[in-house]
């Protein structure tokens, strides 16, 4: 069971990392503004022939 001395800190670090990543994506507001729209845009064939010019 001595491996726990390594595993538990690793778990904690990974867990904390995951929490930080979650808070970061939510803070960056634009990602979750329009989940339905983002999922639907994939289906449109507007930019099939040429990518958006800008």
């Amino acid at each position: 069971m001595n491996i726990l001395v390594v595993l538990i800190p690793v778990t904690l670090v990974l867990g904390a990392g995951g929490l930080w990543a979650f808070i970061w994506t939510v803070r960056n507001r634009h990602q979750y503004d329009d989940p339905k729209g983002h999922s639907m845009r994939i289906l449109s064939n507007r930019y099939d022939d040429a990518p958006k010019q800008d």
């Binding site: 929490l19 979650f22 329009d34 639907m40 010019q53």
Partner: protein, 730 residues
Amino acid sequence: MSGEAPSIAVCPACVAVPAHDPEVEKKEIDASDLRRIELSLPNVHCAACISNVERSLATLPEVYGARVNLTMKRVSATVLDRADVEDKVIAHLEQLGYPALPLDSASLEKTRNDAAGRDLLARMTVAGFAVMNVMMLSVAVWAGASDATRDLLHWVSALIALPTVVFSGMPFYKSAWGALKHRRLNMDVPISLALILASGVSLAETMEGGDHAYFDAALSLIFFLLLGRYLDYRTRAAARSAASELAALEVQKARRADGTVVPLDALREGDILLVAAGERVPADGVVTKGDSELDPSMLTGETLPQAVGVGTGVRAGMLNISGPIEIKAENLGEETLLKQITRLVETAETARNRYTSLAEKAAQIYAPVVHILSALTFFGWGMATGDWRLAVNIAAAVLIITCPCALGLAVPAVLAAASGRLFREGALLKDGVALERLAEIDTVVFDKTGTLTLGRPSVTNLGDISVTAQAVAAALARNSSHPLAQALGRAIDTPVANLSDITEHPGFGTQADFNGKRVRLGRAEWCGFSGALPEQTATWLQIGDAAPVVFLFQDQLRPEALETILALQDVGLGVQLLSGDVPQQVDAIADELGIKTRVARATPAEKVDHLNALADQGHKVLMVGDGLNDAAALAAAHVSISPASAVDASRTSADIIIIGNDLRQIPQSHRIAVAARRRILENFSIAAIYNMISIPIAVSGFATPLMAALAMSTSSIIVSLNAMRIGRMK
């Protein structure tokens, strides 16, 4: 990337020519000349809608970018900063098949910076991560870790759990403290007690090397409860903000005769104000220049336009139809109709706040029961065995297990699902509790003008009029912007006569020359009619010196109105019609729809009295209305609905707003409300069953942290799944 055309060929076999994208052709513009407008688009629902709207808007020269938000059903467009750009965009979208409503950018800004929501989200996610990690460590303990290993795992759990209990539990502690200070109990008191006690007891056990630690149970309690609160918060905030974001239809500014535009509060008694055709009168007053007709339907429900000339009194909110007028603002004090209605609304709203929701009723029973139970357990065990450490342990277990995370999710989960479902179908629910009230109704009272009817006139007597007259009238009508002329032009489909010398006389009508004869379309006296005016909206046509011919108009019923009334009557609801219009119009509409009880010429105060009388008889009433004269009634009813085309005051008073203006949303919303109420009660039963099983086990001392965690998680999941049934029904 200098100016050469980019090659689009992805592979040699498919050399595709890029489609000519009109958006590229706009000239470079300074960013300060652009502004952003947001419009609500209730009818967008798919990928094709997104590309249609965005592509089509890009073809307009004033539009420099457009992006559709499908979740919120809006479009955000960057446009040139000119005065009428918004109207142009709206007209363009309407032609495309997507009715659009303007949104108020000031209130949109407020909802973007949502501090309270983010705070709740932060606490909830910290609790979520903590519970997952601690549960993982606990699994090891439940799987049989013992002695030093178990103690180590408990210590690590304590390390994660204790800071989280402090941080994420803050909302509960603050609320419980607030209630206790006022010597009251709310649901958060037993919850806070459970958390603090459980954490303390578990910490003590950990230090003593004991078997059971309830860290995971405490954390899952916090997590599920915060989840419920977050759902609740999000559905309320989204609906309320969306409701207030629909820009106010009422005039907030007025134009003085010297051309300056001032906000309404800056008006002084005696100011001369300009009201152009198509605008609403900004303040009560008297006409000083010009002749026109005013439409009072938003203010009083009457459909007959009033003719006004110099010296006639006008009221704020009336729509100027024919020609520009100047008015002198008077009576800016307390007795304007607007102020009266505001006072009525306030009185009605204070009466309404006395409803206790199902959640509150449940909490009233729950809190004392939980406390008593755990206190009894503590004393019982302590006195029976003399082992107070054991007694505290068991009491903490009882508190934690009895604490209802299922109950905390029972109502919010259902309301979130129901709100989402309603929004998808085109109805905005401003407050979840309104859905419970909607499920209880037994009578529906409708306003007439603008609610059951389109608020637009249409010709009724074309059959009696000669073809020549129709042809001449159509030709004259096409050259006028008066709403009656527009309706006439739309209705007549004989080929138009050939006219010359067409002139429009604002406030009177349109005149032209037809084969040498003077023809006029417009007001009665101007067209040579001198008899008694009919009780209906009408316009006259005079050809040469012949007797004037009258065109009669009636406000058209919404096409789905009959279907709606029948659907409501089918489920056993009584339907009544309450209107400010004249009895002839009210009777005509009521007969056509099969509504037996009807009231005409009702003032705003009389509408409220009628609703109060129904309430005294024990009826629970749903009020549907849109005009300013309905605002107080909407606030006084048990629950109220208004279409999105309603005035701002009515939209604010109503509980549910129908964005698509389709009356069939009303019976549909009622159906969803009844189903939601059933789900909430089912969820309460599930929570109750969970408690009935777990309390005896806990009180008798057999509960372990594993059982607690399993029971809480299972009940919460069952409750959430049950709530999601609303999204899938019918």
